[in-house]
């Protein structure tokens, strides 16, 4: 749909730039007024979607801060704040061109294309180029609207590790991650999939369904972010006091439950822009199906998680309820346009259980410390969402996806196993290649920092013990409240 969506949009906005810039000309090349109005409406929907997704940054900030301790709160909320700009700048300068440069050609639909493949060709493109710093080539309002939507998705990825690495991450090291994610890490997988790169072409190159299909990013955004969150958690290590000598995990309760709940609500709110606006068109009324499926999965995820954690530990842990809703939302993100409401409910239920069990697994088996459950919510449920496309898609939507000669995306329930293959391949790539890249980045950064006598990416035990707020930020989150 990405490609199709983009072709539509592009058709939809052909000459829009012109419309805006030289009205008369626009009238000259008389496009059908209804088509043009539809294109304008579609661009508006994309921009509104982008606004909603950008607001999700506030949700992440609140969830992560609320689930951390008061003595680190200013640091945690600040990483979530700064990541927006850090990732943005790197994506603006190089990330966007690398991921979509080539794409924008067709998107703009004018004589002067913005970019083309940078690495690879045909079915095997790995990176694109063009439109560096949105300053080269022809920059139209439509391209800018598309950029805004895409930069918001990238920032979601960038902010995921701030959760799994919270309370012990040096500010300086964090800053480098933000730039790396926006400039290179996210663009890689984005180029291979939504950008129209090799994974989007596996339908042709390997005759796997319609190629990798991920409507709004369970994989491209969440699993990719979750892989980085896992890599970061491994490299940086557990917080002091998280595990007993014998490795039993200790609970470190979050300091502000209402804050985390508000953050979850904000994420639910923004998620509608994340998923529903991924039709790239209001003229494609499937956006309504997408929005409703999104809500269904979130609702079932939250309630099933509530029941599951009550069964597992006796009480309806608010943190797990929140994680359950987020797990459901993450899982439905890839399949939301291709499945029936009943399937959205099933996907939400599975995610609700999955998120809890994986939190237990990460903590008890892997002995990893993920303060907010980022690995489980984004990594695990995101992976499940990508797979779900290959299982629950009912064939009613997605004709011509990725340019494949298909009538609609079909999953196992329709007896088609090819799509599942494409999805599995994507998942494997995320957990090998992308995880590897992230791991190498954090390991390397840590090694270099140590080599330079800077002590690595992790803050000193003393700073961590008294709290990162004063040592790192110079202010305490709550200087006036007396704390235990």
């Amino acid at each position: 749909m990405r490609k199709r969506a983009l072709r539509l949009t592009l058709a939809a906005v052909a000459g829009l730039g012109t419309v805006a810039l030289f009205p008369n000309i626009a009238n000259a090349q008389d496009a059908d007024p209804v088509t043009v109005l539809g294109q304008q409406l579609n661009l508006l929907w994309v921009v509104i979607g982008a606004i909603l997704v950008i607001f999700m940054q506030a949700g992440f900030a609140l969830v992560e801060t609320g689930f951390c301790r008061a003595k680190h709160a200013a640091h945690v909320v600040s990483t979530n704040f700064a990541i927006f700009g850090l990732g943005f700048i790197a994506f603006f300068l190089v990330g966007f061109p690398l991921a979509f440069g080539g794409f924008s050609t067709s998107l703009i639909g004018l004589d002067a294309p913005v970019g083309e493949p940078l690495l690879g060709s045909g079915n095997w493109v790995f990176l694109f180029q063009g439109g560096w710093a949105l300053s080269t080539g022809t920059i139209t309002p439509a391209l800018l609207g598309f950029f805004l939507y895409m930069v918001a998705f990238m920032d979601t990825v960038a902010t995921i590790p701030t959760g799994s690495m919270a309370e012990r991450w040096k500010w300086g090291s964090f800053v480098v991650w933000g730039l790396f994610c926006g400039g290179i890490y996210y663009p890689l997988f984005a180029a291979w999939t939504w950008g129209g790169g090799w994974l989007a072409k596996t339908w042709d190159s390997m005759s796997l369904g319609a190629g990798y299909v991920d409507f709004a990013g369970s994989g491209v955004v969440h699993a990719v972010g979750g892989a980085a969150a896992l890599a970061g958690a491994i490299v940086i290590g557990a917080r002091i006091g998280k595990f007993d000598k014998d490795g039993t995990p200790r609970a470190i309760p979050g300091h502000h439950i209402p804050m985390a709940m508000l953050g979850t609500f904000i994420l639910l709110f923004g998620w509608f822009g994340f998923n529903a606006a991924s039709t790239f068109a209001a003229t494609d009324v499937q956006f309504a199906t997408v929005a409703t499926n999104t809500a269904i999965a979130g609702a079932f995820g939250a309630i099933v998680a509530m029941l599951w954690i009550t069964k597992r530990s006796g009480k309806p842990d608010p943190g797990m309820m929140a994680n359950g809703m987020l797990g459901g939302l993450v899982a439905i993100t890839a399949p939301c346009a291709f499945v029936a409401p009943w399937a959205a409910a099933v996907i939400g239920c599975i995610a609700g259980v999955l998120v809890i069990e994986s939190v237990f697994f990460v903590e008890r088996k892997l002995k990893l410390d993920d303060p907010v459950g980022a690995i489980s919510v984004h990594g695990v449920c995101g992976t499940f969402g990508v797979i779900a496309v290959g299982i629950f898609s009912n064939g009613s939507y997605g004709a011509g996806w990725n340019g494949a000669p298909t009538e609609g995306i079909e999953g196992v329930i329709k007896g088609d196993w090819g799509q599942l293959g494409a999805q599995v391949l994507g998942v494997v790539v995320i957990w090998t290649v992308l995880f590897g890249v992230a791991f190498a980045f954090f390991k390397g950064q840590d090694a270099i920092s140590k080599a330079m006598g800077k002590g690595g990416i992790r803050s000193t035990p003393d700073d961590e013990t008294v709290g990162l707020d004063y040592p790192e930020m110079g202010v305490e989150a709550y200087p006036e409240f007396v704390k235990h």
Binding site: P249, R250, A251, M320, I356, V359, F360, E363
Partner: protein, 112 residues
């Protein structure tokens, strides 16, 4: 002069304050404290991991009184603070060498 220190249950504070007033005590200083004792705490789970809240929120009162009202004050507190349930708290009395009212510089009984 004596200093009466009492650890009581938070929800008994109002009753104790009234009792002290009837006992003729006008001044008290109160602070929030955490109590560890027989009453013990409780075990909870957060994200599936068990953790123990091993303290109980308590209130500590400090009352400076002159020697001959000590017993009345102690009795007043005991009677008001008692619920009969474990965790009602403790009272201890120490001797004070000197008391001063900052505003006036008065000393001794007049300072209370």
């Amino acid at each position: 002069m004596k200093l009466v220190t009492a650890i009581i249950k938070p929800f008994q504070l109002d009753v104790v304050k009234d009792a002290l007033k009837t006992a003729g005590i006008t001044g008290v200083t109160v602070m929030e404290v955490r109590g560890f004792g027989r009453q013990g705490g409780h075990t909870e789970t957060y994200r599936g991991a068990e953790y123990r809240i091993d303290y109980v929120p308590k209130i500590e009162l400090s009352v400076v009184v002159d020697d001959d009202t000590v017993d009345a004050v102690v009795d007043a507190i005991v009677n008001a603070a008692r619920t009969g349930k474990i965790g009602d708290g403790k009272i201890w009395v120490t001797t004070i060498d000197r008391v001063v009212r900052i505003r006036t510089g008065e000393e001794g009984v007049d300072a209370i």
